[in-house]
Amino acid sequence: MSGLRTVSASSGNGKSYDSIMKILLIGDSGVGKSCLLVRFVDDKFNPSFITTIGIDFKIKTVDINGKKIKLQLWDTAGQERFRTITTAYYRGAMGIILVYDVTDERTFSNIRQWFKTVNEHANDDAQLLLVGNKSDMDTRTVTYEQGEALAKELGIPFIESSAKNDDNVNEIFFTLAKLIQEKIDNDKLAGGSGAGKEGNININSGSSANSKNACCN
């Protein structure tokens, strides 16, 4: 049951990438999922970015350890009623980013609910990442430590970011992509039999915001 599966480019087809990773952004409405995505893909910021209805997706190719990786980024609607639709797209996701707003405690406490939804619908070996967005705001109600503690409890890495100031936005996607790549490499080493599931992976991306131990789920 290996859900970790990169879609390899067939040789001679003139494709400009080595593999594709499907990554999903989830979290309450208004936490800044689309803003993070637009900042990462187009390097733009608009405080009143349009509402996402249903599902949107964007593509960005990045370079990780010399490999060209095409990131397939799926942005989801935050309103609860859309979960029936958005969960249909969890299948095959290799990375899932759970986003909350550091100025809104409700969005933080809802992360547990989102985590539960992920466990119900996503592949067992999908790599998760917790992100506290809007770290530039003075009106913060959720501290860095609280975010870190929750991440530890859920056994996933944690990053605080600001789409507005472009703080740690690239780190989110690069950290996740590296973790996924490491998992794939580990799987290959173990003969692709799904072994190495219990192994801890160290993130050495140099970002202070990363937790030291990332547990795979």
Binding site: V7, K22, S29, F49, I53, G54, R81, I85, Y89, G92
Partner: protein
């Protein structure tokens, strides 16, 4: 202008023709009619006159046809009056004043979400003050709708639909010929630019969520350029209750029912495309934003531009009183882009992990790219006008029995012979429908939750079973091992599977005889421990086994 050659054309140019507009309205603005002889501008001017005269006479039947035909209701001023007249005809309100819901005790549970979405609306408007004005109006209208009809649930995308009405009603107020209208637009924007003096609008008012500040905000000294909020509210209310009811339940179950009609429509139009895109296997979730917002999420309504497509789409829907129209439009949109979709399908086959992602990916890529293609949309609307009667499709079995598709927005009045009275609904009747639909939705939600729970328990049961086999106690493993070994030895000794057949026959014979003799216990014994027989037989020689088999026979 060239002199018209046919008698039909000459009759158009005379003023007398206005009296016969009922007869002409239906066909005259279709692409293929004689009117294509004239320029678009001439056609529009003529149509404007027809609409004006129909509005004056309150000639609903003609107005309906004008709304559906080419250019729709032409411009914001005519649109506003036409929509108002038609929607008031469609939803009748009881007499008497309505309760004021501005007090916070009427607060609706979804107001927080409304606030979040309104902050992200009208992103295309460059003038900041104008943008804030429109947002305030949008927020007030939505909140008033929700507070007046507390059972309705707000969904993300409803704000897009309402913003179409906002733009039409905020553009200018009075009913003027086109040249005057231009002036009005200028005056109105001029007024908002002058700032705090004329428009008592500030960011503080924004945070103050009361309706009283709103009335101040949109009225100047003459009252000339004020948005008629009452009329606007009346239109949005009727449109919401008659057309959008299915979308405003507690879940997306009913909208998903509507979405699932789209692949079926595509199948009736182009079966080949339906098969190639595997639409029988893929949920049509890619269409959710287009349908929930009636295309207004993809095509943001803007205050400039008379011929904007999004307004023509709304003209069509309101005039035909049809919520199946957006579904058919979407199906046509897909079919119109067939070649590009198939092309993208082929090139992206390897780029996606499964068909859900692939179909969503190519639909988004191709359809978003063409959402502002006016010519394409003209073709689609033209198809709607001519081919819609040919698509014989019953929605009855696909949606709930109180759905807008089979009750209040069926799209039927337009197809009945001339002179029919429009399908009218009483507010209480519609409220009753709404309550029944909510009840059904709750039932359905409960059912689907139960199903999910069942699935989960099934899953855990399976999981447990499989884990049992993996981590079962040593005794189990040993016994299974012995059994398998016994079978293997048997095969080895018998060296042919043929020997197994008489063996089975023997068991069946044993069972039969024992059951005939009423010896159920023995039969149980046989079936509970078939290994016993095999092992016993193994001990005896091959020849004796054969004789026992003969004896049994």
């Amino acid at each position: 202008m060239q002199s018209p050659t046919t008698t039909k054309q000459s009759s158009i140019t005379t003023d007398q023709s206005l009296h016969h507009c009922e007869l002409l309205a239906e066909s005259i603005f279709d692409e293929k009619s004689v009117v294509t002889f004239f320029t678009h501008r001439e056609q529009k001017d003529f149509k404007r006159k027809l609409i004006c005269s129909s509005l004056e006479k309150r000639d609903i039947a003609t107005l309906l046809k004008l709304g559906v035909s080419n250019f729709g209701f032409i411009s914001a001023d005519l649109r506003r009056e036409s929509w108002y007249l038609l929607l008031c005809e469609q939803l009748l309100l009881p007499q008497g004043s309505r309760t004021d819901v501005s007090d916070d005790k009427f607060r609706h549970r979804d107001e927080n979400q409304v606030h979040l979405d309104v902050q992200r609306s009208f992103t295309g408007v460059k003038d900041l003050q104008r943008k804030e004005t429109l947002r305030t109006l949008l927020k007030n209208i939505i909140i008033r709708i929700l507070r007046t009809h507390h059972q309705l649930n707000y969904y993300q995308g409803y704000h897009d639909v309402v913003s179409v009405f906002i733009v039409i009603f905020a553009q200018c107020k009075r009913y003027y010929p086109s040249d005057r209208m231009q002036e009005d637009v200028l005056l109105f924007s001029d007024m908002t630019n002058r700032g705090d003096e004329d428009v008592s609008f500030s960011t503080e008012d924004m945070n103050n969520n009361t309706n009283s500040t709103l009335t101040q905000a949109f009225e100047d000294k003459d009252g000339n350029f004020a948005v008629d909020e009452q009329k606007l509210f009346r239109c949005v209310e009727a449109f919401t209750l008659l057309y959008l009811r299915d979308f405003m339940m507690d879940s997306l179950d009913f909208p998903i029912d509507q979405l699932r009609i789209i692949p079926r429509l595509i199948k009736t139009i182009d079966k080949n495309l339906y098969k190639k895109l595997r639409l029988d296997q893929v949920e049509p979730f890619f269409a959710v934003s287009s349908i929930l917002t009636i295309f207004s999420h993809e095509m943001k309504p803007m205050e400039d531009g008379e011929s904007s497509i999004i307004f023509c789409i709304f003209d069509y829907i309101i005039s035909s009183q049809s919520m199946s129209a957006p579904l058919l439009m979407y199906a046509n949109l897909v079919v119109e882009n067939k070649n590009r979709l198939l092309e993208e399908y082929e090139t992206n086959l390897e780029n996606f992990g499964n068909y859900i992602d692939l179909v969503h990916g190519i639909m988004q890529k191709v359809l978003l790219g063409v959402s502002y293609d006016e010519k394409l949309w003209d073709r689609i609307l033209q198809k709607m006008r001519t081919d819609v009667k040919n698509v014989n499709f019953s929605y009855k079995k696909l949606v709930n029995k109180f759905s807008v598709l089979v009750t209040t927005a069926t799209g039927k009045p337009i197809f009945t012979p001339q002179g029919n009275s429009q399908t009218r609904y009483d507010l209480n009747y519609v409220k009753n429908l709404l309550n029944k639909e909510i009840q059904l939705n709750t039932k359905r939600k409960l059912l689907s939750n139960q199903k999910n729970d069942k699935k989960k328990t099934n899953f855990t049961l399976l999981h447990r079973l499989s884990s049992l086999t993996c981590s079962a106690s040593f005794v189990y493993k040993i016994s299974i091992f012995i059994g398998l070994m016994a079978l293997m030895i048997k095969f080895y000794r018998g060296s042919s599977i043929k020997h197994l057949i008489p063996q089975t026959k023997m068991y069946i014979g044993k069972l039969r005889s024992s059951s005939l003799a009423g010896l159920y216990q023995e039969s149980k014994y046989i079936w509970l421990d078939p290994l016993y027989g095999i092992l016993q037989n193994m001990v005896t020689s091959v020849s004796s086994r054969n004789t026992s088999f003969v004896v049994n026979k």
